[in-house]
């Protein structure tokens, strides 16, 4: 299982992740990215068929704001 969320503090709204993985990331009204699966809570697993997209987005985020984990990010809400 893979879980993902965006560190919204460090995201610079560059629009790269939505290019790489349009099925995982979108942007809020201010351009800051979030994971669409569960509103960036990181508790809903990313479907297997999107792992490649996720990996691409992860590697290409210029600020390393995309976090991936094998565990749900239980505790945290939108950061």
């Amino acid at each position: 299982m893979k879980f993902a969320k965006v560190n919204r503090e460090t995201c610079i709204a560059c629009g790269q992740c939505g290019e790489e993985a349009p099925d995982i990331f979108d942007y809020d009204d201010e351009g800051i990215a979030y994971v669409t699966l569960d509103n960036n809570n990181g508790n809903k697993s990313v479907p297997d068929e999107l792992w490649e997209q996720l990996e691409d987005a992860y590697e290409n985020c210029p600020t390393e704001s995309i976090q991936i984990s094998d565990q749900p990010f239980e505790k945290s809400k939108l950061i």
Binding site: C14, G15, Y27
Partner: protein, 419 residues
């Protein structure tokens, strides 16, 4: 000169950055990459006991651009009294007309950068840029309408330059009647600037440019409309707003950063395709791959030769070299994008290549704010051109195609084609 009387690649790369050589820059970069990832170059940069380095491998270019703990863009972050910045732009802080180059987003470190970028990106979201697509298409079609019947045009003058300046002017809210003037000023400014050089005639244009936008901003304050300046005026976050000065330098940076670079993507990209008919053919047959072909064109010959200079905040090791605090590093984007450790057949252009991992838009917190817009413009520019002018051909002998250097970028001055 070394012993054999030959210019070393370390010396030659300075000529490349300063626009003083006819040599193929990519050969120079390849020589440098082979010698090592981080090479000392003989360039005095103000604070004289510091070494200047050129960074050529992808891994280290990314490291320098991403690591805010060890590298910064503003030398005064390290040393309050640094005269390097002044040396680079040859401007003094009091000279307000030059200020935007030295004190805008691209030249600020955290936390100032973060504050400004957050404010600006509110008005400049990926979604907003995507919403400009129909307008970009309209502009591209208008430009080609004007030349379609002639059977020939100059890609640079008739298309590549006009598309981005019109897009950005529309966005910012520059009235149509003033665009020719803006275009002239920014040309004059871009032509006169290089790494470590600013020609004298430039000051006048800089001042006129700056005065124009001061007045335009004032006008928009009185009469807001549906454009980016009006948006930037009202934007605020937790009571924080852009100051008058920040607003002015931001607007000027947007014109600057958004126009020349995108023009070069379109004109250089067209030349690359004309030089590689097999690649052109692939795109003509399948326009759905144009967005990824744009990425390959950006990788193969992106508009920015180097990112802005970075300064080491600590003594550290990079690419096997000892870097001292205060040393200057030029992350050579065009070299990283040809790194043979990262790309198979890195010196070949292949529009079917599956990559996004280039650094043509930079990396880290300063990564291009306008990248989504530039991608849209590139996509539409090539799609529209190939659709409407499928028989595109170079209209002068290949050896007469001339490069010119502006703002440390290499572009074409003219590209006559028939179709």
């Amino acid at each position: 000169m070394n012993q054999s009387g030959q210019i070393t690649p370390e010396q030659e790369v300075l000529n490349v950055l300063g626009g003083r050589t006819e040599k193929d820059p990519f050969l120079v970069f390849a020589d440098l990459r082979e010698k090592g990832s981080v090479r000392p170059i003989p360039m005095p940069m103000g604070d004289s006991d510091n070494q200047t380095w050129i960074v050529t491998h992808m891994e280290d270019v990314k490291k320098v651009l991403k690591d805010q703990t060890n590298f910064c863009v503003d030398p005064t972050t390290i040393n309050k009294n640094s005269d390097t910045k002044q040396f680079l732009t040859n401007s003094s802080e009091e000279d307000s007309s030059n200020l935007f180059l030295a004190s805008s987003l691209n030249a600020l470190d955290e936390p100032d950068h973060r504050r400004l970028r957050r404010l600006v990106s509110k008005a400049f979201t990926p979604r907003y840029m995507e919403s400009l697509r129909p307008r970009v298409q309209e502009i591209a079609d208008d430009l080609l309408d004007q030349v379609q019947d002639k059977g020939e045009m100059d890609i640079v003058l008739d298309y590549a330059y006009k598309l981005p300046i019109n897009v950005i002017s529309d966005m910012i809210g520059v009235p149509k009647s003033d665009r020719e003037q803006i275009y002239e000023w920014s040309e004059a400014i871009a032509n006169g600037l290089g790494v470590g050089r600013i020609d004298n005639e430039v000051s006048e244009s800089l001042e006129a440019f700056s005065n124009y936008f001061t007045q335009l901003i004032e006008k928009k304050r009185q009469q807001p409309s549906d454009d980016l300046i009006s948006e930037l005026i009202t934007i605020e976050e937790e009571g924080d707003k852009l100051t008058e000065k920040e607003l002015l330098s931001m607007v000027q940076l947007l014109i600057f950063a958004g126009h020349e670079t995108t023009s070069n993507l379109i004109s250089t990209g067209t030349l690359i395709l004309l030089d590689h008919p097999d690649q052109l053919e692939i795109l003509k047959n399948d326009q759905s791959i144009i967005p990824s072909a744009v990425e390959e064109l950006l990788r193969f010959h992106g508009p920015s030769t180097t990112a802005g200079p970075r300064y080491a905040k600590e003594d550290l090791e990079l690419g096997g070299q000892q870097i001292n605090k205060g040393d200057v590093l030029f992350p050579l984007l065009k070299s990283a994008n040809r790194d043979e450790n990262v790309f198979i057949n890195s010196e070949d252009v292949d529009v079917t290549r599956d990559i996004k991992r280039h650094v043509a838009f930079g990396q880290g917190i300063h990564m291009c704010l306008g990248a989504p817009l530039a991608r849209i413009e590139g996509d539409i520019a090539f799609t529209t051109l190939l659709k409407r002018m499928p028989n595109l051909k170079l209209n002068i002998p290949r050896k007469e195609v001339k490069w010119q250097f502006k703002l440390a970028a290499q572009g074409l001055s003219s590209l006559p084609v028939s179709f």
